[in-house]
Point group: C2
Chain length 229, copies 2
């Protein structure tokens, strides 16, 4: 039996994306019985202030709520934290200031995978809050890669649609169109840098990096006992 | 915006089944934005003692661990508890003795749905611990329905396979064969009374009741504000 640190998930952004992340944790753990899985605590909180509104100074910062969720998870026993929401990583500093448990870097995990796949421009399927905070732009630049932004209005409409529960053919076609447009602008790889995107996109004309899946892999690596905490 | 009580999920039995349950909660909440979803706290704990071993007095009772999980969830803010594991409901009394928050009755929810679908014998796709504790037998008898047990060895093998992560064509065929055998023995409806079963079974020769989905519906009904707590 493998040993694990307890994983805490700062979730609910959105709830379906949190479930998608938890599914990756289950499938990627390499467990063959219930007992071989990691212990996972989840706070799927619908009351985290809107990340886009906060970034545009139209609403409160999500930082204090995210920090409170992290403290609650750590109080419950979480030793490694993961947050399946790219945009919320703009407030990662608030979480890291609140607790000693490490917060796994979703952005870094996705960029590391993109760097393995190509040395060209990297398309970003991301919301305004992620793009405006330049979370991926800076991480990609550090890896010698250039960011290519999506059609923001189209992406905004797509995410609203998925958050409303629409993962049908129309939403899938819209996601594919945004991806293929990024490829047309020179992206050699595309990061699905918004957790709603992989719910409606499985393939495009260039390789896709699923940031949610990369976060799950990085979280399991961080949680596995015998690795540095 | 709709108001909800905070839902606490006593999970990890197995982890994939907990994710399946959480997916139902998301899809059935009727939410069109993140904020309209209920707040959900999850403890997916791989260290709950084995239900089958406990029922056969080969291992410790899961009751104390389940009670501790319930206390932790309530301490974190949970107001309504749900446990997506049929067999573990054999220890529901330990949970109910530990906390004031109501534990939604998975068995009752599934039987109520089965009673709507037919007045014939009801096939049970359930593990030994559920069958030996007669959880469904007694609830069905109260509703004037008769339980029909599955091929226990075949069902045991199926569940072990799904818990090991195998949800492929072979596992699906095995699940379908158990269901169709129950129909052949006179079942007019079959309750998927083990949370691993709906991961590999979507249809059979008679209607199926998915106890996990029924639990999600009952949990959302119990959590909706304006309903009795």
């Amino acid at each position: 039996m493998r040993g694990w640190r307890t994983i805490g998930v700062i979730g609910g952004m959105g709830p379906a994306a949190t479930v998608d992340f938890l599914g990756h944790l289950v499938r990627l753990a390499g467990a063959t019985t219930d007992a071989e899985h990691p212990h996972v605590l989840v706070d799927s909180n619908p009351a985290v202030p809107d990340r886009n509104a906060a970034r545009q100074r139209r609403g409160p910062s999500p930082g204090p709520v995210l920090a409170a969720m992290a403290r609650g998870l750590v109080a419950g026993g979480a030793q490694v934290l993961a947050m399946p929401c790219n945009a919320a990583h703009g407030w990662a500093a608030d979480i890291r200031a609140a607790v000693d448990a490490p917060l796994v870097d979703m952005i870094g995990a996705a960029v590391a995978r993109a760097a393995q796949l190509g040395d060209q421009g990297v398309g970003l399927m991301a919301v305004d809050a992620t793009l405006d905070a330049r979370l991926y732009h800076e991480a990609l630049a550090s890896a010698g890669l250039a960011a290519i932004e999506p059609d923001r209005a189209a992406h905004r409409a797509l995410v609203a649609r998925v958050k409303a529960g629409d993962t049908g053919a129309g939403a899938r076609a819209a996601a594919r169109a945004i991806a293929d447009a990024l490829a047309g602008e020179g992206a050699g790889v595309i990061i699905m840098a918004c957790t709603e995107v992989p719910l409606v996109l499985q393939a495009a004309s260039v390789p896709l990096v699923d940031a949610t899946r990369e976060l799950a892999l990085a979280t399991l690596a961080a949680a596995r006992l015998g690795t540095p905490g």
